[in-house]
Symmetry: C3
Subunit: 142 residues, 3 copies
């Protein structure tokens, strides 16, 4: 197998996916940061290792951070698979660029909007990402 | 790279994945709908934008919708990756059809059963989907 | 299409992904087991089918099991996609082996550590898995 990195559509998809994966790793770090800062531990062993008392409920700042991660989990993996099928299925480099970059930028702005509690920007970015996945999925079907 | 869409095993996988991705997008819409209908907002900025008071706990109907999404998240991405490895690894079109369509139909019926609180149908469909992923994963291993 | 299973980098990725997928299925079973053992049902239809009373809050043992699944969901799908792009992009069999097996072993030990409430082992394994995904993502970017 020769690497697919010379294929421009695959290359665009690969770069966007790497950016989104790093963004998701950092989003996970943000949750950990909120947990540490607010001593918001729900596992007894964590409270013991890092200080503080375990609580049954998540701290509001941790719950907010977990919702950001959850929204990512509900959307970005769909891009990962549908985007990959789209480019492996023979998408043109132009179509791949438009879909992949639109999705990636929408999710980065969504992230900033969610972190800063900005509505309706968060909802708009969510919807742009949603349409991107839907557009590729419909093109795969027909 | 020529597109893989001419490969029948990949084509079946692609169509099933597109159906499941669209189903997951709609499942997300259902959660939003329950949130709007019940004014069940946990983010203060959402309550402010869309009306109602933010609450610390999810509304029961929203929590039910989130559990449907969560069950999808625990299962369908496993199909996405294991199914893809299975077809890229050289699965026959027949094996790909049996596995992909069984999984897809099981998850669609699971969705209807969960929305309508129907047990044991939901558990049976979950188990069929589970066996499909397990079957492909074991075939990849050996 | 000839199967990619003859490609050693893809083969390593495929075997590791199958192991991780089976591990995630079993992790899901563990949650179900905790639910059954503790009669920890939140869906009224489940309590009716399997005995016990539905409760609004998850039982602590179920919540612990769900956190194990959640940690998997936040990390393993990132390996699935970034690992696949890495090997399809033309990674050497050696690099694929090092990254894929490091990640797989780290997540298996993480699982044992989380099940047995062992810190800081859980945090260390999480961090090793994190670095593996980050390493591959950065190599894809540059």
């Amino acid at each position: 197998m020769e690497g697919l990195m010379n294929n421009p559509a695959f290359h665009t998809y690969a770069v966007c996916s790497a950016i989104l994966a790093i963004k998701m790793l950092i989003t996970g770090n943000y949750t950990t940061l909120q947990r540490m800062k607010n001593k918001g531990f729900v596992n007894a062993e964590d409270a013991q290792s890092f200080g503080g008392q375990p609580s049954e409920q998540e701290h509001p700042a941790v719950a907010h951070a977990l919702r950001i991660q959850r929204n990512d989990l509900e959307n970005i993996p769909l891009f990962f698979v549908i985007g990959l099928i789209f480019v492996l299925g023979g998408a043109s480099p132009f179509a791949a660029s438009v879909y992949c970059w639109t999705f990636t930028i929408a999710r980065l702005v969504h992230w900033v909007a969610y972190l800063n509690h900005l509505q309706p920007w968060r909802a708009i970015c969510y919807f742009v990402g949603y349409l991107t996945i839907l557009g590729m999925a419909v093109q795969i079907l027909f």
